[in-house]
Symmetry: D2
Subunit: 280 residues, 4 copies
Amino acid sequence: MDGDLRIIKLAEMLIEEGVEVYSYGLEKSELKEVNKCESIPELMKHSDIILGPIPFSSNGNTINTPFGKKNVLITEVLDNLEGKTLIAGSIKSNIYDIASKKNIKVIDILKREELAVLNAVSTAEGTIKIAIEETLKNIHGSNILVMGFGRIGKILSNMLKGLGANVSCEARKNSDLAWIKAYGYEPIPITNLKENLNRFDIIINTIPYIILDKDNLKQVRNDTLIIDLASNPGGVDREEVKKHQIKFIWALSLPGKVAPVTSAEFIKETLYNIFNEINS
Amino acid sequence: MDGDLRIIKLAEMLIEEGVEVYSYGLEKSELKEVNKCESIPELMKHSDIILGPIPFSSNGNTINTPFGKKNVLITEVLDNLEGKTLIAGSIKSNIYDIASKKNIKVIDILKREELAVLNAVSTAEGTIKIAIEETLKNIHGSNILVMGFGRIGKILSNMLKGLGANVSCEARKNSDLAWIKAYGYEPIPITNLKENLNRFDIIINTIPYIILDKDNLKQVRNDTLIIDLASNPGGVDREEVKKHQIKFIWALSLPGKVAPVTSAEFIKETLYNIFNEINS
Amino acid sequence: MDGDLRIIKLAEMLIEEGVEVYSYGLEKSELKEVNKCESIPELMKHSDIILGPIPFSSNGNTINTPFGKKNVLITEVLDNLEGKTLIAGSIKSNIYDIASKKNIKVIDILKREELAVLNAVSTAEGTIKIAIEETLKNIHGSNILVMGFGRIGKILSNMLKGLGANVSCEARKNSDLAWIKAYGYEPIPITNLKENLNRFDIIINTIPYIILDKDNLKQVRNDTLIIDLASNPGGVDREEVKKHQIKFIWALSLPGKVAPVTSAEFIKETLYNIFNEINS
Amino acid sequence: MDGDLRIIKLAEMLIEEGVEVYSYGLEKSELKEVNKCESIPELMKHSDIILGPIPFSSNGNTINTPFGKKNVLITEVLDNLEGKTLIAGSIKSNIYDIASKKNIKVIDILKREELAVLNAVSTAEGTIKIAIEETLKNIHGSNILVMGFGRIGKILSNMLKGLGANVSCEARKNSDLAWIKAYGYEPIPITNLKENLNRFDIIINTIPYIILDKDNLKQVRNDTLIIDLASNPGGVDREEVKKHQIKFIWALSLPGKVAPVTSAEFIKETLYNIFNEINS
């Protein structure tokens, strides 16, 4: 079952590697050698592992089927999955509840650490594209602040340094600050954040709570570009940023947009890891 | 005198650093503290060094004045420059001839080696933006061929490696191939080019003659992206590339487009170098 | 109180930054402006925080005092520390037991994550020195396997890549393998280790259990250099490695040997972090 | 014919690749499958290209034969080489004169640009080993000045940055300073050298004339390490450096010492380039 362009690419790769793939709800795609099933029950006859949409559902009622011709209800899917394994992305907690009652094993592939790491690479590249596009300066030689030293912070800092930027990273924990130093970036403890904010050409946030609040935004120069990569609520007070006329971009879901083929490859590798774990 | 956005930024920077700047033909810009002159003779009263447009002229008749309200003839400029120094970009050889008769010193700033090197940084970033934008894959982990190991080839390869690409560089000279190896890229002698062409996700050319001709293009996969950075005639047979339905982008004049502020800074630094040389 | 050269350097740095430092057991050092105390009780009058040797004791009876003229018993120290804080390195568990009875707060500074990270930088440099010294080849262009992707594995791989080596990293967890890929090294799952072992010019182990056992060592070429950075029992069967006449170096405690001044700086920064935590 | 350990390694590699190798003057080496000749005339029967010692001669009278049992006069060699090609290293100009009279083609392989570039990699690694060994600090985070931006300066700076050093490069030409900036090091024009000298933990010279003279050395801190890589007369006033008690190391001929196997590989590649040029 489907999702966005990544799913199509993924199906192509699996087929190419000799995996037998059966599909439902991908009618509009140009996928050729796949075995298209007419109904979910038919699909289930062939498969013990069902790969659902990534993300699974946007409305909590039907699953995401951008390449399908008709709506597919979540209940319709779950009713046919007893004893099987459902792998999909961004699965809400209520699905887990229903699934456990029906003896369905549910795996949210986007929660797999290895996929999150690999997706961070695509997110970093998408961010770099935005940074080149939306500034009048080179990345090379710019002063760039990365807020948060998690997966995206680590990989993005590494790439920005690879482009010749002067990279500073904000973090809270002493051990993270030690890592920042060890990798050759300037460590900025959160306690020193405010006084440093006016030094940066670009500020990139990865922390999902409002860290650039009214008070902190006063320190940001109005020729600074702010890119927020954090999911809701983000890390930037969006009202305030407008008032200060600071250029601000809230960039979400970059991997699927920037590099659907690579992203599909990463999903494939993660799938294989899951298969190995199921079989061992 | 003017040119594109870089010239406005340049004037702002010079003023900020305390240089007395007089202008003519920048009426439409928002430049404030500059001393706007009403005529070229008036301008000449104040200045021994005249910074003309970059590039100087597109039509061989008038100089480029995108921020000016009226046309300015080349002859009008040269008639007033006796004994002075004219610095501009992409100056045609006939201008040099006229200038030498009138005892005008002409310096083409775009021919300065240090500016060409620094501009290559901006070109490289613009190229990276295109590469991220126009492919479905990450740069990270991609196989990328850079053809030519001159200024742009060197800097671009360094940045692509900094992003995690597998970089191969094509060159002709053994010493260039040694440098390519020393910097950690895969050296591809031109004699081995053809047999390697089908390995690459992205091919970037920097050599200004048709190296990807009909014969070579047959080896290129049709999911490869080709970016040509070489000025006319470029390095790619554009008829053939279309026939093979290979994605092809001919990207010229990136520095002014991608990073006008940095580009203006580089021009400023080069100007200061020129001033130092004139005064020593 | 003392330890190795790092402690002398540390005392110098603290004094230079205006910290009032009192010492005992450093008689043989050339330390000048320190307030040397005649006895431990005298020392305790002046200080609430006592910095002991790093490492604290080698024999479980006296503390390490390479710069002192007489032996100092552990019991003698602990008897005078009631209500105070003792910071030292590699403190054995029985010390904690005694200390808790006497209301002494004990902090093992070598267990601080930030210090461990920073020390890994020094360990990596020491390893690189050994690798250059003990091979007939360049690091640049060599195939190097790093086993284990913890602190030392991460930092060492980064530096080896910075020197132009082809870096492969062995790990067990899928998420570590993803990080290895994201940082641009070749990931080698432990399940594929054996079949890859004969490809490497240098193998560096960071995992403290015998991973290069009899069986695995058979695959290692006898012109390979093996460096083991893991503390007892190390990661290499030392009997077998001799039999195969493979060059083998077991390198321990590199930070203090390779870079005592930097190492002292790292200890100082960690001390300040501890002080901040105590005071907040 | 012979030279140092590199020549033995080189012969081994050539044999392994199927080249028919005849030798004279390598009696003491453990080289097996080589065809050992009893005399120079016998050697000449088999070969049109003679690879002599690298370097060719230390005394101007006999060639260097550390692996040979008897002395071999230069004249003896040249008398037998009519119509042939002699490839060796560091050949003095008088040899060229004699050779041209005897119709011998002489090629000094150490003057080949590609070999000089590749050898610079080995020199850089040897320098890094010295820097780690002779300082009490990490390279990572140190302030290092590289004087001269030729082959060694370029490659060494790249590696030092790869280890996390703060790299500054001194140069004279504006275009070199632009390259230094483009590669992400701090450019120091020679005119600003003196005022910057006291900032560095390590100073590495690659320029073969006394640049660190009495006057400049006064600015260098006495805890700075100076490494001189320049051949005679070097770049450092050696009398003065002693007076100031600055740690100073004059490191020459590193490639053969640090990495004889890699160095032999580089010579082999260069030889093949020469063969190709002779045959085309």
